[in-house]
Amino acid sequence: MRIYLDHNATTPMRPEVLEAMRPYLEARFGNANSIHSWGREAKRALEEAREVIASALGARDKESIVFVSSGTEADNLALKGAAWAARGRGRHIVTSAVEHHAVINTCRSLEEQGFEVTHLPVDGEGLLHPDTVMRSLRTDTSAISLMHANNETGVIFPIAEVGHLARQRGIVFHADAVQTFGRLPVGVESLGVDLLSLSGHKIYGPKGIGALYVRPGTKMVPCMHGGQQERGRRAGTENIAAAVGLARAAELCVESMQLEAERVRSLRDRLERGILSRIEGARRNGHRERRLANTSNISFQGADEESLILALDLEGVAVAAGAACTSGSLEPSHVLEAMGRRPEIDGGALRFSLGAGTTEAEIERVLDLLPTVVERIRAAAGSSHPEPALTYR
């Protein structure tokens, strides 16, 4: 039995989504910019998908949705586009220390181009306080970018409060909602955001598609130059099938959101309670209440996270930790570091992220397995081979 508990990394596509996409991968292959009937067919599907996403976000104008290739591209377009467009106002950007690399590294690139970035700290439970945001704002602050919920811990940020603040000061506000869209109610009006990123493959939709909400009137320069697609905000032939898939996935997620969140929360809590009670030296990372219902991040004293992940993988259980780099090896988590966790003391941390396919039997199986796995790693780590004979110091 293989058990997939890594839904914050990606999710399986729902059959309904594939069904919705299929015609646009086959007969309706048109280019939405063509004048002929193939083009019109594609254009209609694209605009219907746009409408669905806009309505899922509570956006009044469907033209506020820009389709892009990924959550990462949405973050890039939001940050670079807004920062450059607002550079007359100032060159100071506020973000947090625990953002996804799509935001952190985009900010880094902006820093190299003369922008100044403040990375706000979080507390030991991963929470960001609106006061912290307020105190960081300057007269030359032109943009704020914060994630709605953290991908590693699931901790939710006070987006609506910050949105209020940003609006008062006339600062462009971007929220990275890649982990929350489809899982929590995400309304661009209630959150008060100007820009909002979302992604298809986190919500049982296809990979290779994302969207950026752009509040009408928000000034933004494009990052991708070419044709006039997406009203000149994102050049490149539109991926109709993926946009249709994203829309269908969004509909399905929004429909079942409440029930699914409750179901997953009860499984997650069962998993977490089980781990914390059965394994000594295990500790939850992230605020207990203010986080996504599907995510549990736990540190295991005396065990390193690479061994934990490998050992579970060998038993067919998929979990995550830190951030995977291109070679597949792990880098330490900047999120847990910002929360004051130290791997040498607190041990390695695992992220369990549950999803639509997760069952009670799977949770029980993991609870049976995990204590043995952790114990074995701890025992081996503590076993000391004699000091090496050869030393030069």
């Binding site: 690479e306 061994s307 090896s329 880098e331 081996a380 081979h385 090496p388 004979a389 050869l390």
Partner: protein
């Protein structure tokens, strides 16, 4: 958990460890491949020479392909910091102190059969295998795991493994130790392994070219010039930092006179390189320290052995004499070139020349 016995194979991406994985899978083990990333990938990617050396991105990719060909799981672990601390740092510290280190021995003891072996046991593996050319057997009478030279004497790597303790040997497997290099390549080709004809790795994996340039580049600020003197204390020239010299070295001294001169001693305290004529390098004995015995429990009385003080150099007959504080005096039967302090002196059984009895570090 699984019913098959689990073994972690340290896969470098070369033909030897690739075949090791293949053979163990064939024998019915549950093989788990692990490749260690030892060097920063940035350096690896920017430097073409680097790209072909051990644990470059290409090697990681080769290991991944072999594992996937065999249908076994494969993981890449980042050991950059650990390797830098445990091996490169020690390597540099030795040279800075006027000694000649052996980084492969450090890596085997501390990284591969140190931290990686602990990892492997944590993953529920019973054994850890590598592509080393050496053999392990268990002596029921003495109750000890023993190391033997590889079947292919030209490829034998037992010299680099003398530092392994019993607990480490008990978990180690060297599946290619019984084969010649040609057999390994043939077998790898027959099994369809893409790396069958891949060239052998050479020299020290983190140094491309001359180790002196490496030390200059990374530790240049710690190099202090000083005097080159002869045995009588006469100054013959200037050296550029003790770390750049090795006992026995003849070239690159930059001194004239009635040579040729050889480095006979590196004096760390006085920061001096002491040189002499070839005959001054010939010695009847030397002292070695920090021994590790494999086939023997320890050395309590004088015993004969064949002693090897450099890799790929034949072992020469000598007597091992225990000294105070665990040191050993190695007395050659015939005078031999002075070994460089810091190098490994590895002892083989006098009557069973392929049996490794132990080894120690040449003292200063």
């Amino acid at each position: 958990m699984g019913t098959r016995r689990r073994v972690v194979v340290a896969m470098s991406g070369g033909v030897d460890s690739s075949l090791a994985a293949a053979l163990l899978a064939e024998q019915g083990f549950e093989v788990v491949g692990i490749t260690l990333r030892l060097l920063p990938s940035r350096r690896a990617a920017n430097d073409l020479e680097r790209f072909d050396s051990c644990c470059s991105p290409r090697d990681v990719e080769d290991a991944r392909l072999v594992a996937s060909h065999l249908g076994v799981p494969h993981y890449v672990l980042n050991y950059e910091q650990e390797f830098d601390r445990e091996v490169i740092g020690e390597f540099a510290a030795a040279y800075m102190g006027g000694r000649t280190p052996n980084p492969c021995i450090l890596c085997n003891g501390r990284v591969k059969f140190g931290s990686l072996l602990r990892r492997a046991l944590g993953l529920g593996a019973e054994f850890m295998a590598t592509g080393h050319y050496a053999r392990i057997d268990y002596d029921c009478k003495g109750g000890r795991y023993r190391l033997r030279r590889a079947r292919d004497s030209r490829k034998d790597q037992s010299y680099f493994l003398y530092g392994l303790a019993q607990a480490q040997l008990a978990r180690a497997l060297f599946p290619v130790g019984e084969m010649t290099k040609e057999q390994v390549r043939e077998r790898a080709a027959a099994l369809g392994l893409k790396v069958a004809a891949k060239p052998d790795s050479q020299e020290i994996c983190f140094v491309s070219g001359d180790y002196r340039s490496f030390l200059r580049e990374r530790y240049g600020d710690r190099l202090r010039p000083g005097a080159i003197k002869d045995g009588a204390g006469k100054v013959l020239g200037q050296h550029q930092g003790l770390a750049l010299y090795t006992v026995g070295q003849r070239n690159g001294l930059g001194i004239g006179g009635d040579g040729p001169f050889y480095v006979v001693r590196l004096d760390g305290k006085a920061n001096e390189v002491v040189v002499g004529k070839a005959d001054e390098l010939l010695r009847r004995e030397f002292v070695a320290e920090k021994p590790n015995f494999v086939a023997w429990d320890r050395l309590t009385e004088e015993r004969p052995a064949h002693v090897m003080v450099r890799y790929r150099q034949p072992a020469a007959p000598a007597d091992l004499i225990p000294l105070q504080g665990g040191q050993i005096r190695v007395r050659w039967r015939e005078p031999q070139r002075l070994p460089a302090p810091g190098q490994a002196a590895v002892f083989y059984d006098a009557s069973e020349p392929d049996l490794l009895v132990g080894g120690a570090t040449v003292a200063q």
